[in-house]
Amino acid sequence: MTTAVDIRGVTKIYSPDSNQAVKALDNVSLTINDNEFFTLLGPSGCGKTTLLRLIAGFEQVSGGEIMLFDEEIENLEPNRRPVNTVFQHYALFPHMTIANNVAFGLERLKKPKPEIKATVERVLTLVKMKELGDRRPNQLSGGQQQRVALARALAPSPKVLLLDEPLSALDLKLRQAMREELKQLQRETGITFVFVTHDQEEALAMSDRIAVMSNGEIQQIGKPTDIYEHPVNRFVADFIGDTNFLDGEIVDLNDDLLTCRIGAQSLFETENSGHHKVGDQVTLFLRPEKIMLSVLDQENDSGNRPGKVKNLVYLGNQAAYTVDMGDGIELTAQARPREDGELPFAIGDPIAVSFSARALKVLAQ
């Protein structure tokens, strides 16, 4: 597998000489493979956009190296780097037509006129904007401007396409539609996409691999399923999806199972990964969708835990329940409405909660 972008120990400090120095990136290393949809995911201020701007060349690294297809690029001006950017607010040139916007990069590269014309037509067709080439940016809707920005960045056939939260300004429906289109576009063009977002759903839906960032550091890199199912720390588990956290202590273990005490006396069993010993303080996490809720049946209690519905949030296709388990423990779980559309449980209902030991996982501290 060819490496498209190789980030080696990159550090970025803003205004390093003043007393307001800000460390935006701290010794970040990661490799992005050729033909990969790679996402930098994290909350605002985590350094993901800074990393993108360093690859594009709008900022200079304070330390470390950036290689693009085995070529050092950190000393190159942005106009000498074979990468193109889709900007968050599109940054279309307001004084040019759509076609001229798309042709801009090709003209700077001194491509022959007929080739420019053909390429502009091809990429505008690709993003379904062929009819609007004569318009100006402010005559287009947000979604259309988004497509033009995409076409403009794709036109020069960059080796790597950088996308800086390109969907954040669109409304929900359009955003979901664009997700699929972007993913399809990446597959069709075979260009490496580096996608920056703070939206974990977007990241899970589109990426081949995700790097979760926080405070200028990489927390975890992996496939969407790895990140979701096997988060390496509390930050990642919390940032991706909804999660129940249970803080407790290991009180017993055998070859297969760890037994943890949560609260005063509640015992929970989880798989033994072999990294822990009795007495360790641990955090367990449990995804809400792994929890089964059922009607409490005192007679036939096989491993079910009793609880009481404390709160519920109706979401249409499902409802999120907050269940009071006693002993100071609360769990969030999900349940589907019944076929007649009624919710299975109401606030105050006694309820049975069950989940497998495999669903409950120990987080590294």
Partner: protein
């Protein structure tokens, strides 16, 4: 609401604007009409006009009566008018060349420092233009600030004769009106979305192309406004031509001033003023057209 107020919204708006209409009418429109009427009368050799209708003032712009009382073409005044345009055009160009980088530089500064620089740009307005133009005599004059050290060190051994030349007038005009170029360009550059510069360089534009393809086209409204704000007063200027041009190299403005003062030919001065006014109006119509076209081209947003 009192009964005497106009009922319609348009009427009320008119009433609200009445004080400004009054001021503009008294101090601008009426003097202009007087000037226009005077230009069609005969001069009184002791100043003022005789109430006799005549087109002589306008004829005098391009013709004169020879010894046999025949009307012959005389390009003297037309040459002065042509020179005025040349010098104003040159000064406008110089203002643009010096003013644009200044405005651009200010735009690139942190916000709190920008206001300070703009304040510096406006400082010359605090002093009378006449005095500031006199300062240029000290700078450019024989043995002045520029010449003295060059003479003393032997780099030159005669005066450069910078004063009383077209160059001196152009420098004086450029100096006088430079802030009027910087301010409107700054105003339009300040609105420039600097992410567009990132986008341009991302799309392989070098620094020169970023300027010519993105920054300059987007600051065109400011550039046009600045050029008009400089060109128009340059055409009518008389302080710089009189002081730095030595009064011999006349410009339209100094010619007008001369007709009202020494030459005592008010109708001719009025006619020249009307000519100047029509040039200004034509320039402004051109500007309004360009602005309208641009608005139509870029949509309503």
């Amino acid at each position: 609401m009192s009964d005497w107020l106009p009922k319609s919204a348009a009427g009320r708006r008119w009433l609200g604007l009445a004080p400004s209409y009054f001021v503009i009418g008294i101090f601008m429109l009426i003097p202009m009409v007087i000037m226009g009427v005077f230009s069609f009368l005969e001069p009184n050799p002791y100043g003022g006009v005789k109430p006799i209708g005549s087109l002589a003032a306008y004829i005098k712009i391009a013709f004169e009566y020879d010894l046999e009382d025949k009307l012959v073409f005389n390009p003297g005044y037309l040459n002065i008018i042509f020179r005025s345009f040349q010098l104003s055009f040159g000064a406008t160009l110089l203002c643009l060349i010096f003013g644009f980088p200044v405005a651009y530089y200010i735009t690139l500064q942190p916000e709190n420092r920008r206001n300070f620089y703009i304040y510096l740009v406006t400082i010359p307005f605090w002093t009378n233009l006449l005095i500031r133009t006199f300062a240029w005599i000290i700078i450019l004059g024989r043995g002045g600030v520029i010449e003295a050290p060059l003479l003393a060190t032997g780099i030159i051994d005669d005066s450069l004769r910078m004063m009383y030349s077209d160059g001196a007038i152009a420098i004086g005009l450029t100096y006088s009106y430079l802030p009027l170029m910087v301010l409107p360009i700054y105003a339009s550059l300040e609105k420039l979305d600097f992410r567009l510069l990132d986008a341009a360089s991302d799309l392989y534009a070098n620094r020169f192309e970023i300027m010519t393809k993105v920054v300059i086209p987007l600051s065109k409204p400011g550039i046009i406004a600045g050029c008009i704000l400089v060109f128009i007063p340059c055409l009518g200027a008389f302080i710089a031509p009189n002081l730095l041009g030595g009064g011999k190299k006349l410009m339209l403005g100094s010619l007008v001033q001369f007709q009202f003062a020494s030459a005592r030919n008010w109708p001719f001065g009025g006619a020249l003023s009307m000519l100047l006014l029509s040039v200004v109006i034509i320039t402004l119509i051109f500007y309004a057209r360009a602005a309208k076209n641009r608005a139509a081209m870029e949509g309503s947003a």
